[in-house]
Each structure stands twice: as structure tokens, then as C-alpha cells.
């Protein structure tokens, strides 16, 4: 039950399914070793989600120096159109698109768009400037559009 839920989060932050499973295992290890800190009066799922997101962010910090940026800005842009193309995409295709983003763009995109954090909060979490967070989000969205247009339109 929580496996799929956890993977749905880590897949968005990871480069691959293997890495996502590794991050999820790290998160579950934290859950198991700190289970005494869980307050049973509060819902479990949000607590789990926060641990998984934190673990993914920690993984981002660890890999920050190893990661190589993929320059997707060279992709020829086509006008964004055909909403139906997007709506026809499967979950796996969506995840595949997100995983094509650089870790910096991907992490900011996930935190801002999916998790709902503010840029100031993201800047604190990732130890970056607020401007960098905004810039990374804009570039992430731009790159996603490019990927959609390149592969699906």
C-alpha cells in the first residue's frame, strides 16, 4: 500500500526507478528506526510523505556534485498546443518526462508544483537563492514543454 505511494513520490525526484527504490528504502529505514517518534493521534500518510520528500532532498544534496546537467535548452521549441496530447499521456510517460529534467530543475519543480512549497521555503531547503528557485522552476517548465513538443506532438 505505502510502497506504491512512496514510489509515486520518489520516482519524481529520481533519475531512474532503481534510484527511486533506493531513496524509498532510505525513507522506510528512517520510518522504521524512528517509529517511536510518530504520533499515533495524527495521520500516518502525511508523516510518511514528509519523510520521503526529505529523504529525496537529502539525496539531492548528496548527489549535487556528481550530477551532470543536461542542457535541454537546445531543443527546438515549438508552440505549445494540443492539450489533448498531454491529457492522453500515461503516468509512466509523465514520470519519464520529469526524470529527463536536471536534478536541480526537477527538484524545484516537484517541490513547487507538486508539493506546494513556496520559493522561499524551497530556497531554504535546497540551500539556494530564492531567485535561483524561481529561475529553476521557469526552466523546468520550459524544458518540459520542449520535451512534450519533441516527443508527443
Amino acid at each position: 500500500m505505502y510502497y506504491a505511494y512512496g514510489m509515486s513520490i520518489t520516482l519524481r525526484y529520481a533519475d531512474s526507478r532503481e534510484q527511486a527504490a533506493e531513496v524509498l528504502n532510505d525513507a522506510f529505514m528512517k520510518v522504521f528506526t524512528n517509529i517511536e517518534k510518530y504520533d499515533p493521534d495524527r495521520p500516518f500518510k502525511p508523516w510518511l510523505r514528509q519523510i520521503i520528500v526529505n529523504t529525496a532532498i537529502n539525496q539531492y544534496h548528496k548527489n549535487q556534485n556528481k550530477l551532470q546537467k543536461t542542457d535541454l535548452e537546445s531543443i527546438n521549441h515549438k508552440p505549445a498546443r494540443k492539450q489533448e496530447v498531454l491529457s492522453g499521456m500515461s503516468y509512466d510517460e509523465i514520470i519519464e518526462m520529469v526524470q529527463q529534467l536536471t536534478p536541480a530543475y526537477r527538484t524545484v519543480f516537484n517541490l513547487y508544483v507538486i508539493e506546494g512549497f513556496k520559493h522561499k521555503e524551497i530556497a531554504e531547503m535546497l540551500d539556494i537563492a530564492v531567485g535561483t528557485s524561481k529561475s529553476n522552476l521557469a526552466k523546468a517548465k520550459k524544458n518540459l514543454q520542449s520535451i512534450v513538443e519533441k516527443n508527443f506532438i
Partner: protein, 426 residues
């Protein structure tokens, strides 16, 4: 979470799509997690065993060393006392010459009756006669008897027709001198070499007359060896690792360091007052309960699960040092006192199991706050004299909190070991 409205269609699309997850379960993922859980459990057990056994071994080792040195020291004291008693008996005018028992040992019992038949079998050494002659200088009332005795003895041996007896006499005399010198070296800890042995007929009486009585007066039960003059003022350069933790002696973080200077004033031979200024880097982890920043700081989002503190501070210890045991060129000491902390820079990073918006990640500031007598300090150390005026010390210490310190108001436990080089100014 943010309350901002995300009206971008692309954002809406992704938010909607990621909720439609349908992820296939993979057994291998669980197997990996299971193996990690097993390994973690084994590591945890091993770590706990290691910690317990290490602590037990350290305590046993410490007490064994203390017991050994105490026993050794006590034995030496007993031996010296015994020898002193014997040397006092040598000085006694009622004493007769030394006897050799059938097993070759000295008989230090001195018959009061000079006409004892055993005295004819007595071998009186020149050394012993010398000693007796010397001691008679301090006992003029008995000098005549001694001289007579000596003359008789010398006559006895000078007219001896046995060469073997002369050899035995010489050996015995040397042994007696060795014994006396052994006592001397025990007191004075001076260099002892075979070259220092004078032949029986070249004994320096003036030396012999002085050292035995003088030494017997110097010796005291405080274990203070007179070979080392107690300095009045000593300065030291000290350094070493620092392992700190908050709230209890567990969950240590990376070790920090301590480096600084100390000044020590000897109040008595064994008691000294010591003051220091030590630049310290303290690193520790604190759980949410052990870390208490100013009230209201955690109001937004709750306290973190863990805080990692990295602080630079000046540690000012004031302590009394007592020399517990003395050895030839070293000593065992214990100290007790208080440490005051002046915080130079405080840097704290907060970790949350579940991160919520608005929760602080880090707090860092050059605070400069002072915490007087915040920690009690205890240490047990060993000092070795490298030269007459320079010594090396190894001093494991523990600092136990008496007050909370720093911006986070933590009860900071520290332990480590100083290695210091000390110079006796005068």
C-alpha cells in the same frame, strides 16, 4: 505548504497526473529493504555491545593500572621502611657486627651480649665497620666500644690465614655496600652504575655518613620523592580531541578539538591550582528535547528531530590538581574544577523527520555569550618528566554540565584527552 494559486495549465496538468499513479510492486525492492533492516539491527546490536564492552574495558583497565601502581608503591614504601629500620639498627651502639646465616643471608639481629659465641663466626665487613665507625661520630659515647670492635675485627681478618675468607669478606662487603647504595638510589633516584661501586677499602665515609641518616629523614609517607624539586609555577601548551554530546553521554557527533595554554601554581608539593584558556571546537547532536532555543523559535512547525551544533568557544578551566602517586620520573594526578565557556560562534542545523513549510533549517551567529562555571571538570592524568624543567602529560577528562549553555540552552557533556607539554618557570 504554500497557499499560492498555481494557475498554470502545465502545473495543473502535472499535479493531476501524478496522482494517477499505478505502480507495480517489485519484490526485489522489499528484499533489499529487508536485508538493510537486518544489517541495521545487527549493526545496532554490535554497536551497543562494542560501547558497553569498551566502557567496561576502559574502567577495568583504569582501575587495574591504579591498583597496580598503588600496590607497587606500597611495596616500595614497605621495603624502604624495612631498610630504614635496619639502618637505624646499624647505628645502634648496642648492635654487634652483621652475621651471615647458613643460607648466606645477613642476620640483622644484633646480640646485646658481646661475648656471644656466635660473634666468633661473624664476618665483619669493612663496609659495615665503616658504617659503624661513621655512625659513632654521631654517637661519641659509644665510639670507644665501636673502635675496639673494629680493631678487633680488623685484627682478626688482617691476621687471617684464609685467603677464601678474604674473598668472602670482599664479596660481603660489596654486597653490603650495594644494599646501602640501593637504599640511597631509592631515595635519591640517582644514577646507579657498577662504576660507582667503591671497593671496600675506598669507601667515602663522608658520603656514607651523610646519606643514610639524611635520607631517612627525607623519607615521608606522602610518597614525595626528593629527587625532583617541586616547581612553583608551570606553564603548559595543551591540545587534544573533544567529543561532546548534549543531554546525556550518548549519540556523539564528529569529534572537535581543544588547544590552549595553562598556568599552574603549586600550593604544596602535591596540590596545585591551574587556570587555562582553551580554544575549542565543539560538535554535537541534540534531539528535539535536549535543544531549547529562545521561547517561540519553534512555534512555526514544531521542533526538529535532531540538531547538529558546531560551536567555537573559549573554555576557561579553573581546577585543583593533586598528585596521587609519585614514581621515579613520573606521577599520577587527578584534577577537579570548573569550566567557563565564552561562546565565539554558534552554528546549528536542524533536521526534521517531516519537513513543513516555514521550519528553519539553520541558525548561525557570533554570539559571544558567557557561561560562568557552567561545567564541572574531572580528569585523571599521567605526567612524565622529559627534563628537569619540562614534562609531558596525558590527561583524559570529562566535563559534566552544571548549567545550560549556548543559544540552544543545551546541557553539554564533553570528554576527551589533553596532551600537554609543560615548562617549569621556577
Amino acid at each position: 505548504m504554500a497557499n499560492e494559486q498555481h494557475n498554470d495549465p502545465l502545473e495543473e496538468f502535472f499535479r493531476k497526473k501524478v496522482r494517477e499513479y499505478d505502480i507495480e510492486y517489485k519484490e526485489e525492492d522489499w528484499l533489499k529493504l529487508e536485508s538493510r533492516l537486518d544489517a541495521a539491527e545487527a549493526d545496532n546490536k554490535q554497536h551497543n555491545y562494542w560501547k558497553r564492552y569498551s566502557a567496561a574495558a576502559a574502567i577495568i583497565l583504569l582501575f587495574s593500572i591504579l591498583a597496580y601502581y598503588t600496590y607497587q608503591q606500597q611495596q616500595r614504601i614497605d621495603q624502604l621502611n624495612e631498610r630504614l629500620t635496619r639502618s637505624e639498627q646499624v647505628k645502634n651502639p648496642q648492635n654487634g657486627p652483621l652475621e651471615i646465616l647458613p643460607d648466606g643471608l645477613f642476620d640483622f639481629s644484633f646480640p646485646n651480649n658481646p661475648s656471644d659465641t656466635r660473634s666468633e663466626q661473624t664476618l665483619n665487613t669493612k663496609q659495615s665497620s665503616g658504617n659503624i665507625a661513621e655512625t659513632t661520630e654521631n654517637n661519641p659515647g659509644n665510639s670507644q666500644n665501636e673502635r675496639n670492635s673494629n680493631e678487633e675485627s680488623q685484627q682478626q681478618f688482617s691476621t687471617s690465614d684464609s685467603y677464601q675468607q678474604s674473598i668472602a669478606l670482599a664479596k660481603l662487603s660489596e654486597s653490603a655496600q650495594l644494599s646501602a647504595r640501593d637504599m640511597y638510589t631509592d631515595f635519591e633516584t640517582s644514577d646507579f652504575t657498577s662504576n660507582n661501586l667503591n671497593p671496600p677499602n675506598t669507601i667515602d665515609r663522608s658520603t656514607n655518613t651523610s646519606y643514610i641518616p639524611e635520607s631517612s629523614n627525607k623519607f615521608n609517607t606522602q610518597n614525595q620523592l626528593p629527587g625532583r624539586q617541586t616547581p612553583r609555577l608551570t606553564v603548559g601548551l595543551m591540545g587534544g580531541p573533544d567529543i561532546s554530546t548534549a543531554g546525556g553521554i550518548s549519540d556523539f557527533y564528529d569529534p572537535g578539538y581543544k588547544i590552549g595554554l595553562s598556568v599552574e601554581y603549586n600550593l604544596t608539593k602535591n596540590l596545585a591550582l591551574s587556570v587555562g584558556a582553551i580554544h575549542s571546537k565543539v560538535q554535537y547532536t541534540a534531539s528535539g528535547n535536549d535543544y531549547s532555543p529562545p521561547e517561540g523559535y519553534w512555534s512555526y512547525g514544531g521542533a526538529p528531530e535532531e540538531t547538529i551544533g558546531k560551536c567555537l568557544l573559549i573554555d576557561i578551566p579553573i581546577s585543583l590538581k593533586y598528585n596521587v602517586l609519585h614514581f621515579d620520573h613520573s606521577r599520577l594526578f587527578a584534577t577537579g574544577g570548573f569550566s567557563s565557556y565564552i561562546m565565539l560562534n554558534e552554528d546549528y542545523r536542524f533536521t526534521y523527520d517531516g519537513y513543513s513549510s516555514g521550519q528553519p533549517q539553520r541558525w548561525q551567529e557570533r554570539t559571544g555569550t558567557r557561561h560562568w562555571m557552567s561545567n564541572a571538570v574531572f580528569s585523571l592524568g599521567y605526567e612524565v618528566d622529559l627534563r628537569k624543567d619540562i614534562s609531558l602529560r596525558i590527561e583524559p577528562f570529562i566535563k559534566v554540565p552544571m548549567q545550560e549553555v549556548g543559544w540552544g540552552n543545551v546541557k553539554l557533556y564533553s570528554m576527551g584527552s589533553f596532551i600537554s607539554v609543560n615548562y617549569n618557570i621556577f
